[in-house]
């Protein structure tokens, strides 16, 4: 097991949309968006089983999500987290004077973290906002 560096993008998925409308406080939303989709070849580099938790880190933060096999692939070298607070824990707030954050194309590292828990959306945002007070 070893950490890998990879390029992160985020975006919509139909599961993200359905679970968002069904309630962001639900576990269904966490299962739809608290994931990172990784290519088969990147799983091999990472040396972990599919559907185990990983810690994703970027220059801007870190978050624990479940690593799953890419549903829309192959896309080696690119990882995907559906839009939501999990993705936004690590995305870049840099706008380059356009007002638009850089949600796509963030260099991240992925570390195996099978002992750590994926938080639901409300717990995650509250822990990020209030955790260090």
């Amino acid at each position: 097991m070893s950490a890998i560096s990879i390029n992160l993008i985020s975006g919509r998925t139909i599961q993200q949309g359905v679970s968002m409308e069904g309630g962001k406080e639900t576990d269904k939303y966490m299962k739809a968006c608290g994931i990172i989709e990784i290519d088969e070849s990147d799983f091999k580099r990472l040396g972990i089983m599919k559907n185990t938790n990983v810690k994703v880190k970027s220059e801007f933060g870190e978050v624990v999500v479940k690593a799953v096999e890419a549903t829309q692939g192959p896309h080696p070298g690119v990882a995907f987290i559906p839009m939501g607070p999990w993705a936004n824990s690590v995305t870049s707030p840099e706008t380059y004077s356009t007002g638009m954050p850089t949600f796509k194309g963030v260099p991240i590292t992925i570390d195996p973290a099978d002992k750590e828990k994926v938080l639901n959306s409300l717990e995650l945002v509250r822990s990020k906002c209030w955790g260090d007070q």
């Binding site: 975006g11 919509r12 706008t95 945002v125 906002c129």
Partner: protein, 439 residues
């Protein structure tokens, strides 16, 4: 007995489907089933009608993180005091509500010297900047359905983001001049991933993530018949770029649909500049249009209402008593990063889930109000959460489709008893703000 309501508007995405059938119980209180909607739209109607999961009264956040119920009058008082006393309040969101509510909100913003911004800030804001740079040759979705035989989806995955777009307008439908439907259309998808949309494409240009600008300019050169240098351009073999260029030029009418892949990647508004100029170039050979794949069902409407009231489509700064606009400075993301805002009002959006975490942390430190029918990450960190009726489900109102066509949404069921609508709540706040400002 049950009632069937036809021609219902779907208040989810910018496609704003207008052919839904909703079956309700006899009293018009509960939705039993939804026909013709995508999975997301159906879930929205069914979740709205299931009152057991909903907060039905405003709540105030307490120090221990729990909420205590308050009345609508108390919520109006808190909101009015917060906005009237702030030096530079932000009024953000506006994309999941009707144009009537937006208009009332803007009146409050003008009185309080607020910054008004909609979700284009994290969605198609750079598109609006590009449109101001180079203009936009566009058309309606009806024209796409009836005429278009060349379709590009650039950085957009409608199979997931706009599930019925392809069947209603862009790939499958049989229109007046497109009687053979999909067989008559050539589809090009540009995406760094193989997506469910790219599986339907005649040509999938698997661009290297973040290199859309290079590929767009290469395509422009290829369309003009110029020689491309290098075998691989932005991750795409040169031959495929030529093939795509010929395919585009050989059509009778083409449309470029573009999404977050170009607006949020590096290059930002310059990517869209290039996409619009590609459309412009293609008009030398055939007829071409370009349409932004807007996300929220009424984000386009927010741009329209802001446009006719203040002259700018988003990131409008009214703090000096007149409208200013400079997204890199007056955008909500930038303001939160610079810690310039001293109160946050959110309606019809969820920045807690969809802003970078640095900005969410800043919101949590401010006096704040979230107006939202749902429990969201934003409502979890705001000082007051005000639940309201769902626009398009429990109250009607005007909305704009992604191609700037206004469509009146419909009410299909009653909201929970005693629940206010966005507009009623905002009118209450406006009345109180006027009183406060008069003194």
């Amino acid at each position: 007995m049950s009632k069937t309501i036809t021609d219902v508007i779907c208040p989810f995405c910018g496609t704003l489907c207008d052919d839904l059938s909703v079956v309700t119980d006899d009293e018009g209180k509960k939705i039993l089933s939804v026909e013709n909607a995508c999975a997301i739209g159906a879930e929205k109607f069914l979740h709205a009608s299931d009152h057991s999961h909903r907060v039905t009264r405003p709540r105030r956040l307490q120090e221990d993180g729990s909420f205590v119920d308050i009345t609508y009058e108390e919520a109006i008082e808190y909101t009015a005091q917060m906005l009237a006393n702030a030096k530079k309040p932000s009024m953000y969101g506006w994309s999941s509500t009707n144009c009537e509510s937006q208009s009332v909100g803007h009146e409050i913003a003008e009185l309080c010297g607020a910054l008004v911004d909609n979700t284009a800030a994290v969605c198609h804001g750079t598109t609006l900047v590009a449109v101001q740079n180079v203009g936009i040759p566009s058309c309606t979705l009806g024209e796409v359905k009836n005429r278009a035989d060349r379709i590009i989806f650039w950085g957009s995955n409608p199979a997931h983001g706009h599930p019925r777009h392809m069947s209603r307008y862009s790939i499958f439908p049989r229109g007046y001049f497109t009687g053979k439907g999909q067989k008559q259309r050539k589809i090009i998808v540009v995406d760094p991933r193989c997506t469910d949309t790219s599986s339907l494409a005649d040509v999938h240009l698997q661009v290297e993530q973040g290199q859309d600008y290079e590929l767009l300019q290469a395509l422009r050169a290829a369309v003009r018949g110029q020689e491309l240098t290098g075998d691989i351009i932005a991750g795409v073999p040169k031959e495929k770029v030529y093939e795509a260029a010929e395919m585009l030029k050989s059509g009778r009418f083409g449309v470029i649909f573009f999404g977050m892949g170009v607006t949020q990647s590096l290059g930002k508004d310059h990517n869209i500049d290039a996409a619009i100029m590609l459309t412009n170039d293609l008009n030398n050979y055939t007829k071409f249009s370009i349409i932004a794949m807007r996300g929220h069902y009424n984000v386009t409407g927010s741009g329209q209402v802001l446009g006719w009231q203040f002259g700018f489509p988003y990131s409008v700064d009214l703090s000096r008593g007149f409208a200013r606009y400079n997204p890199g400075e007056t955008g909500t993301i930038e303001l939160l990063k610079r810690k310039e805002i001293d109160a946050m009002f959110v309606l019809g959006s969820d920045p807690g889930a969809h802003f970078p975490m640095q900005c969410v942390k800043e919101i949590s430190k401010l006096p704040s109000v979230a107006i939202d029918p749902h429990i969201t990450p934003t409502s979890a960190i705001c000082k007051v959460h005000v639940p309201v009726a769902f626009v398009g489900v429990e109250v009607g109102g005007n909305c704009y489709r992604m191609d700037n066509v206004p469509i009146e949404s419909r009410k299909v069921v009653e909201p929970p008893e005693g629940m206010m609508t966005d507009q009623q709540f905002l009118e209450g706040v406006l009345k109180r703000v006027k009183e406060l400002k008069a003194n």
